[in-house]
C-alpha cells in the first residue's frame, strides 16, 4: 500500500511538557514549605490558607496530579503517536484535555488553601471539581482509544497497554471513591461512612499510586528507556507477564493500609496476600527495565539521562520491595502512622516518578524543538543534586519512623508508658525533619537546574509538528487467524484489549468492596453510638476544613501501647456516622479518637490558639483564626437532612430544633470557658484585644464540642456500667 504523509501533534506534547516543568517546581516548593514548618512552625502563623493542614494536601495533589500527571500526558501523547504511526485522533480533544486539566489544577490550587476539601487523601477536591476531572478524564480516554482505532501499526506496543489500563481504571476508581452528597456548591458528604469509607478510600488511594503513579510511568519506561539506550526492551515475554499480573493484583492491595483497623479481617488478609504477591510482577518490570541496559552500561556512565532512568527504576524496585514487606502485619505495626511511610512514598515519587519524568523531559524536549540540549554538564549536576537530595530526604525519615515506633511502645518495668507525653516522641525526631528539609532543598535545586537548562535549550525556537509517513493498515479479519498466537491477536484488537484490562482491574475491587458495603455483619452496630449534635457537625466540618487528619489519626489499633496511651481500641460500629472517615495515615501529633473528656475545654481553647502555651515544645502551628472567627451554621438543617439521607437517624423534630440545640450547646461550652477563667488567658486577651465577644458564636467552641465528643459514646456507657 502507498504510504500516507501526516504530522504528529507535537504542540500538545510541548504544552504538557512545559506544564510539567512549571507544576513540578511548584509542587516541590510547596513540599518544602511544608517540610520547613517542622523546623520553623510559626513562619506562616496567622495565614489560614498557608497553614499545614491545607498546604499538605495541596503539595500531594500538585505533586501527583499536576507534576506527574502532566508528565504522563506529555510522554503518552509523544509515544502513542509514534508507536501507532498516527496523529492523535482529535486536536480539539487534545486541547480540551490540556486546558481542562490545567483548570482542574488551578481550581485545586485555589480551593485547597481555602479549606474546601473532602479530606480524603489524594481525593480532597470537592464535588464540582471532581465532575470536571471526570469529564476531562473521559476526553483523554476517548482521544486515546480513538487514536488506537485509527492507527497504522497492527500491534499495540506494551507502553500503550499501560496507558489503556491507566485510562479505564482511574475512571473507575475516581468515580466510585468520590461519590458524595452535595449540601452546597463547595461542601459535600461522602456517601460512605467510617469503615466502608476507609475501604473505598484506600482502594482508591492505593490504586492512585498504582494506576496514576505506576502503570503510566511504566508505559513511559517501556518507551523512553529503550529509546534512550537505543536497544529494545530486554524481554517482551516478561512485559506480558508484568502487565497482566500487575494490573490484576494491584487493585486488591488497598486494605494493607488498614491493617489492625476495624476493617473486616478477611479484607485485611486479602490485602496482605495480594500485596505480597505484587512483588513478582513489580520486580519483573524492574528487571525488565534494568536489563534493557544490558550491554549498554558504558552509555550509562556518560549519559546523565540514562543515569536518571537507572535511579528511577532502582527506586521503583526499592519501593515495590518495601510495599509488600509493609503489608505484613508485623512490619506494618511498626511502620504505620510513622515517618517510615513518608520515606517510602518519597522513594516512589521523587525517585521513581520524578527521575523518569525529568529524564524523559531531557530526552524529549530537545527533539521536539529539533535541537540539542544546552548543557549535558547541567543535567549531570541535576542528577547528583537530585540523587543526594533524595537520599538525604528519605534516610532520616526511615530513622525517624523507627524511633517513633520504638518510643511509642516503650514501657517502664511497672507497666506504665516510658514516654507518656506524645510530645517527647515528636521532639526526639526533629533533627531528622531538619535533614529531610535540606534533602528536599537539594532536590528542588536540581530541578531548578533543569528549568534553566531546558529554557536555554529552547530559547528562540518553536515547535513544529513532526512530519511522518506510514502505510495505512490493510484490513484483516477480526477473528483469530489460524495459528495466530492469542496475545498477538489481542494486541491488534484495541477495544477488546481495553475491555479485558478493565475486567482484570474491576474483579479485585468488586470482591473487596461489595461485601464490605452490602454485608451488614461486617460492621456490627453499637447501640450507644449516636449521630453528632448540630454543633458537633459544625465542629467536625471545621476539623475537616483545616485538614487535621494529616497529622492526627482517629483510629486506635489493638496494641497494648496504643490502648495504654489513647484508650480502648477502635470498633467498626463507632464510625457509622462519620462522613467522611477521619482515620488519617500519619501521626505527627497524637491520635484523637478518644480525645473526648480527656482535657478541659479551656485547655483546647488555648491549645488551638497557641499550642505551645499549653504544650511545651509543640510544633503544631497556631490556628488563631478558629478562635477569632464566627462559625457559619446557617445551613445546619440542610446538612442534617443530607446526613439523614446517608443513614444518620435524625428526626424531623430534631432537624427543626437544630438551631436552638446548637446555640444551647455552644452557650454551655462558652459558659464553661468563662467559668474557668478564659478571659484571663493570653489567648483570649490577644485574640479579642480586650473587647467583649460572644464566645458561643466562635468556631473554636464548635471545634471543642466535636473534640469533646470523640470516642465518648462507648466509653461513657462503660463508665456508667462501672459506676
Amino acid at each position: 500500500m502507498e504510504k500516507e504523509k501526516f504530522y504528529y501533534d507535537d504542540k500538545v506534547v510541548k504544552m504538557f511538557a512545559w506544564a510539567t516543568v512549571v507544576w513540578g517546581v511548584t509542587a516541590f516548593t510547596i513540599g518544602l514549605m511544608v517540610a520547613y514548618l517542622y523546623w520553623f512552625p510559626h513562619y506562616m502563623d496567622g495565614i489560614s490558607w498557608l497553614s499545614y493542614g491545607r498546604l499538605r494536601p495541596l503539595h500531594t495533589n500538585s505533586a501527583i496530579f499536576a507534576f506527574v500527571g502532566n508528565g504522563i500526558f506529555a510522554g503518552a501523547y509523544y509515544s502513542t503517536q509514534r508507536l501507532l504511526k498516527t496523529r492523535m485522533a482529535s486536536d480539539l480533544l487534545s486541547r480540551l484535555h490540556f486546558w481542562g486539566w490545567q483548570l482542574v489544577i488551578l481550581l485545586a490550587a485555589i480551593t485547597l488553601p481555602l479549606g474546601i476539601t473532602q479530606s480524603k487523601e489524594y481525593a480532597e477536591l470537592e464535588w464540582p471539581i471532581d465532575l470536571l476531572v471526570a469529564v476531562v478524564w473521559v476526553i483523554f480516554t476517548v482521544n486515546l482509544l480513538w487514536t488506537i482505532q485509527k492507527r497504522r501499526v497492527r500491534h499495540i506496543y506494551v507502553a500503550i497497554w499501560f496507558y489503556i489500563s491507566t485510562a479505564v481504571t482511574i475512571a473507575m476508581l475516581y468515580i466510585f471513591n468520590n461519590l458524595s452528597l452535595p449540601v452546597s456548591m463547595w461542601k459535600s458528604y461522602s456517601i460512605y461512612a467510617g469503615v466502608e469509607d476507609a475501604v473505598v478510600q484506600w482502594w482508591y488511594g492505593h490504586n492512585a499510586v498504582a494506576f496514576f503513579l505506576t502503570t503510566p510511568i511504566l508505559g513511559l519506561m517501556y518507551y523512553f528507556v529503550p529509546k534512550a539506550a537505543q536497544r529494545p526492551i530486554y524481554s517482551y515475554r516478561l512485559s506480558i507477564i508484568h502487565f497482566w499480573t500487575l494490573i490484576f493484583i494491584y487493585i486488591w492491595a488497598g486494605p494493607h493500609h488498614l491493617l489492625y483497623s476495624p476493617v473486616p479481617e478477611w479484607a485485611q488478609i486479602l490485602g496482605t496476600i495480594f500485596s505480597f504477591t505484587l512483588i513478582f510482577p513489580s520486580w519483573g518490570g524492574m528487571i525488565n527495565g534494568l536489563l534493557t541496559l544490558r550491554g549498554a552500561w558504558d552509555k550509562v556512565r556518560e549519559d546523565p539521562i540514562l543515569k536518571m532512568f537507572v535511579v528511577a527504576i532502582t527506586s521503583y524496585g526499592m519501593s515495590t520491595f518495601e510495599g509488600p514487606m509493609l503489608s505484613f502485619k508485623s512490619l506494618n505495626a511498626i511502620a504505620h502512622f510513622t515517618d517510615w511511610i513518608v520515606a517510602h512514598v518519597h522513594v516512589g515519587t521523587l525517585g521513581w516518578n520524578g527521575f523518569i519524568v525529568m529524564g524523559m523531559l531531557y530526552w524529549m524536549i530537545p527533539r521536539l524543538y529539533k535541537t540539542k540540549i544546552y548543557s549535558v554538564k547541567l543535567i549531570n549536576q541535576h542528577f547528583w543534586w537530585g540523587t543526594i537530595g533524595l537520599l538525604l530526604y528519605v534516610i532520616p525519615l526511615y530513622v525517624a519512623g523507627w524511633t517513633q515506633f520504638l518510643m511509642w511502645r516503650q514501657f517502664n518495668p511497672d507497666g506504665s508508658l516510658k514516654y507518656p507525653e506524645f510530645m517527647d516522641t515528636v521532639t526526639e525526631i526533629l533533627p531528622m525533619h531538619y535533614l529531610r528539609a535540606i534533602g528536599g532543598t537539594l532536590y528542588l535545586t536540581g530541578a531548578l537546574f533543569m528549568v534553566y537548562n531546558l529554557w536555554k535549550t529552547v530559547k528562540g525556537r518553536k515547535v513544529e509538528d513532526t512530519a511522518a509517513e506510514a502505510a495505512p493498515l490493510e484490513p484483516v479479519p477480526a477473528k483469530r487467524a489460524k495459528g495466530e498466537d492469542f496475545h498477538n491477536w489481542l494486541e491488534r484488537r484495541g477495544m477488546l484489549f481495553t475491555v479485558l484490562a478493565f475486567i482484570a482491574t474491576a474483579i479485585g475491587g468488586a470482591v473487596e468492596i461489595i461485601p464490605t458495603i452490602f454485608v451488614d455483619e461486617n460492621i456490627p452496630k453499637i447501640e450507644a453510638v449516636k449521630p453528632y449534635t448540630p454543633l458537633e457537625i459544625v465542629g467536625r466540618d471545621i476539623y475537616v476544613r483545616e485538614g487535621c487528619y494529616v497529622c492526627h489519626s482517629q483510629m486506635i489499633r489493638p496494641f497494648r501501647f496504643e490502648v495504654e496511651r489513647y484508650g480502648e481500641y477502635s470498633k467498626a460500629g463507632e464510625y457509622v456516622y462519620d462522613h467522611p472517615f477521619q482515620w488519617g495515615s500519619k501521626r505527627t501529633g497524637p491520635d484523637l479518637f478518644r480525645e473526648g473528656g480527656k482535657r478541659p475545654n479551656l485547655w483546647h481553647f488555648s491549645h488551638i490558639y497557641e499550642p505551645e502555651s499549653v504544650m511545651d515544645g509543640s510544633i503544631m502551628p497556631n490556628y488563631q483564626w478558629i478562635v477569632k472567627n464566627d462559625y457559619d451554621a446557617s445551613d445546619i438543617q440542610t446538612k442534617m437532612k443530607a446526613l439523614r439521607k446517608l443513614g444518620a437517624p435524625y428526626t424531623d423534630e430534631e432537624i427543626a430544633d437544630a438551631p436552638r440545640k446548637l446555640a444551647e450547646q455552644a452557650k454551655a461550652i462558652a459558659a464553661d470557658l468563662e467559668a474557668n477563667g478564659v478571659k484571663k488567658t493570653p489567648a483570649y486577651l490577644e485574640a479579642y484585644k480586650g473587647q467583649e465577644v460572644d464566645l458561643s458564636k466562635k468556631e473554636v467552641v464548635a471545634l471543642i464540642a466535636y473534640l469533646q465528643r470523640l470516642g465518648t459514646d462507648t466509653t461513657k456507657k462503660k463508665e456508667t456500667a462501672q459506676k
Partner: protein, 58 residues
C-alpha cells in the same frame, strides 16, 4: 439466590472461602500467563519488541 449468597458471604466460612478462591485465581492466572508466554514464538516477539524503533524521526 442473591440473599443466599449474601447470607453465606456473611458467615466466617463464606469469607474464608472468598480469601481462598481469590488466592487460587491469582496463582492460576500467574502460572497460566508464565506458561503461555514461555511458549510464544521468538520471531514474533523480536518484531514486537522493536516497534519503538520503527520511527525514524528520533
Amino acid at each position: 439466590m442473591i440473599r443466599n449468597i449474601k447470607h453465606y458471604l456473611a458467615s466466617e466460612q463464606g469469607l474464608a472461602l472468598l480469601d481462598i478462591i481469590s488466592t487460587v485465581i491469582l496463582f492460576a492466572l500467574f502460572i497460566g500467563i508464565v506458561i503461555y508466554v514461555w511458549k510464544m514464538p521468538k520471531e514474533k516477539i523480536d518484531t514486537l519488541k522493536n516497534i519503538p524503533f520503527n520511527d525514524k524521526n528520533d
